[in-house]
């Protein structure tokens, strides 16, 4: 019964996402291109630094596309979590005056970021064609990885959004965490450069797993993934973590949701 009611609100997710998109790029000449600007800029800088100065990517075939894919995926994670975190507090007026499932707000913020990711992946595809990367038979698996990524990101978002209602310094804490995670995830550097034991720890992170798996299925099989880094039972940890984080985030959010109207 309850899930049926939420289904009714599918239209609301779409309307909120559409509105977000319309307003984000309204009155700007380049519109969506701006959201590409940030990852492309980072990509350009890192490409120069890591191919010309440090020659780090040398061992990896198609390092530029490999790097771009990592950055695009990471950007999605950061943007989705930051915009979702503010989704409840930012819509305080709405929450105080009308009842609808609060989760809609956070989910639609995540969906907005997901759409940007999909558009950015098209750009990655264009880069792949230019770099003459031939897609492997595994490429369709990217779809499953994106679902996992959306589940993980939504879980983190729900957790952050509900905490942010009570503690506004979550924004700062999360910024620091995100920065640390950026360097703790093999985005810039190949996993092979990380000394053995550390590499294993890094690969326990679901984000690292998703990025490495995506690169594996899309660009090159010569990259470290969970399966060639960790032994069998441990290799399941990052996959299950994604879903565990989602369940925790969802549970805390729903527990807090009924009090949002009073606390904002």
């Amino acid at each position: 019964m309850k899930s049926l009611q939420s289904l009714k609100y599918y239209g609301l997710v779409r309307e909120l996402t559409l509105t977000d998109f319309k307003l984000k790029y309204k009155a700007s000449f380049f519109g969506y291109l701006w959201s590409l600007g940030k990852p492309l800029m980072l990509f350009g800088v890192l490409l120069v630094v890591f191919t010309s100065f440090f020659k780090m990517g040398g061992a990896i075939p198609n390092y530029p596309v490999y790097l771009l894919l990592g950055i695009v995926l990471w950007t999605y994670f950061v943007e989705a979590t930051f915009s979702s975190m503010a989704s409840i507090v930012g819509k305080g007026d709405l929450i105080r005056k009308v009842y609808f499932p609060r989760i809609i707000l956070t989910i639609s913020a995540s969906v907005t970021a997901l759409i940007t990711l999909l558009l950015n992946l098209v750009v990655v595809l264009i880069f792949m064609i230019f770099s003459k990367v031939s897609p492997s038979v595994n490429s369709p698996l990217l779809f499953l990885l994106l679902i996992e990524f959306f589940v993980l990101t939504s879980g983190v978002s729900l957790l952050l959004a509900s905490l942010f209602v009570r503690f506004r310094d979550i924004a700062h804490i999360w910024e620091i965490c995100a920065q640390a995670m950026f360097y703790a995830t093999p985005i810039l550097y190949p996993l092979s450069m990380v000394p053995g034991e550390f590499g294993k720890v890094l690969m326990l992170s679901p984000i690292a797993q998703i990025i490495q798996d995506s690169r594996y299925v899309l660009i090159t099989t010569e990259t470290g993934t969970v399966f060639n880094t960790l032994s069998f039972p441990f290799s399941l940890i990052p996959y299950s973590l994604s879903f565990i984080i989602f369940i925790i985030g969802y549970w805390i959010f729903q527990k807090e949701a009924s009090k949002f109207a009073e606390e904002i």
Binding site: K8, Y9, G11, L12, R14, E15, L16, T19, K22, L23, K26, D93, L94, I95, R96, K97, V98, Y99, F100, R166, F167, R168, D169, I170, I173, S258, K259, A261, E262
Partner: protein, 405 residues
């Protein structure tokens, strides 16, 4: 029970307690530091054991002063707040919102806002497309449908919001003070629409502090005070009780105000002074709130050390906005006072006070015969209030009127 079929909303023993922390630990650091110390709360009980039923097809009014808990109650009915204890049951689809135009985005066009606002109210795109034309027609916005909402006049914004609310197809409509906006033409259109709503067996719960709306449109009304139900029943009775409650509250306040104001007394001449003014009703009772059409007597007390020959007492009545309504004195009224000395008073009566709801300032003065020496002059120092039950006329002064065709 067969009787329960007619009940749209059943509120049983609902209480709401707000815990307001003395120091709000809005930061993680603050709450981490205070994790072991007991957090102190001020508990504020917004609703206390409220129980009532609203029947299907009823226009139900909830009235009360600011802070009486009426909005909290409506929020609980809408599902925005959870009650601390008690239970609410509904029969029918309830509108989840309390204010018009919730969720509208000023940057979007009217068309886009109908779809956005409508989906926030829980409508599907299909439902919205089906009633789109009706909404636009009702709002009278056919020519502006692709204009940005922010460029609408406030009246147009309200019309669009109301049209959407009407077509949200809820069986129970909750409204908080919505009728205060929009021009009177549109207001009456809204109320007519409410009436047709009622005829379709739909239920309306309206929260307001406007007695006239309750008395004119509601089938039943409820008066809340400090989170408790004071009265529930006929709108006329409930409205009158609300008015009486306000009167006695205001009397208290005026008395307090006057005590504070005593030091500010301006007396031009220490030997001659107006020592005070009391307002009396026809029975000689001291009051400061009167009804339209009542006799109001201002008893002006004076004191003089030396005898004053042919004194002139003057008064002036101003509205709070400073409009001078009238300013008679004893000389222009052909009252000759030969001499006053010592303590005494003079009564000034406004017969059948033709004034509407509001506060009025009374200026009192004591002059010599030529009005050249102000012995005592107390400008707009005394306040009395009028509460009007008359809803047929608006303004400051009630005129004797007639119409003829």
């Amino acid at each position: 029970m067969a009787k329960d079929k007619d009940i749209a909303i059943k509120v049983e023993n609902v209480s709401k307690l707000f815990s307001i922390p003395h120091e709000k630990h809005a930061t993680l650091k603050a709450s981490a530091l205070n994790i072991f110390s007991k957090r102190s709360y001020t508990e504020f009980s917004a609703l206390r054991d409220v129980s009532f039923e609203v029947k299907k097809g009823e226009f139900f009014g909830i009235i009360g002063r600011n802070g009486c808990g009426k909005s909290t109650l409506l929020k609980i009915i809408a599902g925005i707040y959870l009650p601390t204890s008690g239970k609410i049951t509904y029969d029918g689809r309830i509108s989840p919102f309390l204010e018009l135009g919730v969720g509208f985005n000023p940057e979007l066009t009217a068309r886009e806002n109908i779809f956005l606002g409508g989906s926030i109210l829980g409508l599907t795109r299909k439902e919205l497309e089906a009633s789109f034309d009706k909404i636009v027609e009702f709002a009278e916005l056919q020519d502006f449908i692709d204009m940005k909402f922010k460029n609408f006049s406030s009246g147009m914004q309200v019309r669009l919001a109301f049209a959407l609310a009407i077509y949200a197809h809820a069986e129970i409509l909750l409204m908080d003070e919505v009728l205060a906006v929009g021009d009177s033409n549109f207001q009456s259109k809204c109320l007519e629409e409410f009436n047709s709503y009622r005829e379709q067996g739909k239920t309306i719960v309206l929260v307001t502090h406007d007695i006239t709306i309750v008395q004119r449109y509601c089938d039943r009304a409820m008066l809340l005070r400090n989170g408790k139900i004071v009265n529930i029943g006929k709108p006329e009775d409930v409205g009158n009780e609300y008015m009486l409650q306000n009167m006695s509250d205001e009397e208290k306040r005026i008395l307090e105000e006057r005590e504070e104001g005593d030091e500010k007394s301006v007396s031009r001449n220490k030997d001659v002074s107006i020592t005070g003014v009391e307002f009396l009703d026809t029975e000689g009772q001291v009051r400061s709130v009167f009804k339209t059409g009542e006799d109001i007597t201002a008893r002006i007390h004076y004191f003089t050390k030396q005898p004053i020959e042919k004194p002139v007492f003057g008064v002036a009545i101003h509205t709070q906005d400073g409009i001078h309504i009238s300013g008679p004195n004893t000389r222009t009224s052909d009252i000759r006072i030969p001499e006053i000395c010592g303590k005494g008073y003079i009564d000034f009566t406004i017969k059948k006070a033709p004034l509407f709801t509001g506060a009025y300032n009374l200026t009192v003065a004591l002059f010599d015969w030529n009005l050249s020496i102000p012995y005592s002059f107390q400008e707009q120092r005394y306040i009395f209030r009028i509460r009007s039950a008359d809803t047929n006329q608006y303004g400051v002064v009630k005129l004797e009127i007639s119409w003829k065709i």
